[in-house]
Amino acid sequence: MKASAGGYARASDLRHALDLLGQAGDAGRVLVGGQSLIAAMNMRLSTGDMLVDISRISGLAGVTQQDGRLRIGALTRHADLGGDPLVGRHAPLLAQAVGHIAHAAIRNRGTIGGALAHADPAAEFPACVLALDATMHLEGPDGARDVAVGDFFIDVFETAIAEGEILTAISLPVAEPAEVQILKEVARRSGDYALAGLCLVRRAAGVRLSALGVGSVPVLAQGAMAALDAGDIDAAVTALRAELDPQSDTQASGGYRKHIAGVLLRRIWDEIGGTA
């Protein structure tokens, strides 16, 4: 179908964007790549939006390293993330995720900030940043604030971003020398949303494991993490399946999604050498 927009404004800088969002109230919608938002507008799942196009704001795209952290601007496109040398070195999980996200033409416009703010629980980037223990950087009318990723995802398509705020960047610790990051998922066709997927990050402090496509938000599987830290893969698989409560839908039953999650965990464990 055809999109129905209430209005469109192109923000010249962040202050301008925040002013526009303030004017628009609850009809305000931040637009950049539009690869989810415009699809939703086309299907009339969202109508009358006052679109604030922040895609031309300079300084919100790109990847930098400072003070032991990697900072990724919200406007960084998937295609650019996938080929970025800093991401390849410090956040290879995100580079792996890019290959799973939709198709090349979508990745040429979609942005990481858009994907995180949209908060689709079946998408890769939300689960990745949860496993990476990222910090989300927001700007609002009253100034900047940071939100820990554990507090960011609230429900399906719902985050800690308040009305009038914009997600401007995320940051995460640079990779340790022996850090392991790996993403595995099962999808019916290339580019489809996964039936289930796992992101594992192993640092000196322990394993972080998140799951996508198995709940209303990306899930941090803390029981499985503890078992993996103890080197017990069987207990980890049991714990993981107990921690997940996926819905059944036309793609797969909840039980099958749980089964896949366990299989993926064993595959990851084999691939990384199986030591805690």
Binding site: Y8, G34, D53, A105, N108
Partner: protein, 164 residues
């Protein structure tokens, strides 16, 4: 600079190498702007939610979905559609290979398919058949079964590097 919300937006862009100025409704997709306002009906509007790839056009050098971008967002952009790419001869070898290999039957997907294929062929190495399939995974063809399309892309990639 647009400093307030508008329901009609003035845009100036380049389409197939020619300057275009227009006033577009806020919700107008790029693909409808190209097809309905400019009469460039090569690329197709089909699923209108980014799944089928029939609307794929080139914007600022990248293959993008014409149905998932607003015309308002194309202000200042350089847009190429199959009409311009055909007239310029930029992808003549690819088009010839599609004909030679029977890589199209009804032709509905072909304009989008060609833009997606051309995007892959700008890379340095000859892509493996798996890479070609993966790159075209977002462009549906209901006629050919894809094998002939993969053949065509592979043959052009090799020919362009003198290895055919």
């Amino acid at each position: 600079m647009t400093d307030v919300f508008r329901d009609k937006i003035d845009i100036a862009l380049s389409v197939n190498g020619e300057p275009v100025e227009a006033r577009v409704p806020a919700g107008r997709h790029l693909i409808d702007f190209l097809r309905l306002d400019l009469g460039l009906t090569g690329a197709h509007a089909s699923c209108e939610h980014g799944v089928c790839g029939a609307c794929t056009v080139r914007v600022d050098g990248d293959a993008v979905r014409g149905c998932l971008m607003l015309a308002a967002q194309a202000d200042g952009a350089e847009v190429w559609t199959i009409e311009g790419l055909s007239d310029s001869g930029a992808i003549r070898d690819l088009q010839d290979a599609f004909v030679a290999r029977n890589a199209l039957q009804c032709g509905f997907c072909t304009p989008g398919m060609l833009v997606a294929c051309a995007d892959l062929l700008t890379r340095d190495a000859v892509p493996a058949r798996d890479e070609i399939r993966e790159h075209l995974s977002g462009n549906y063809c209901r006629c050919t079964g894809y094998e002939a399309i993969v053949d065509a892309v592979e043959s052009v990639a090799k020919a362009r590097r003198g290895a055919a």
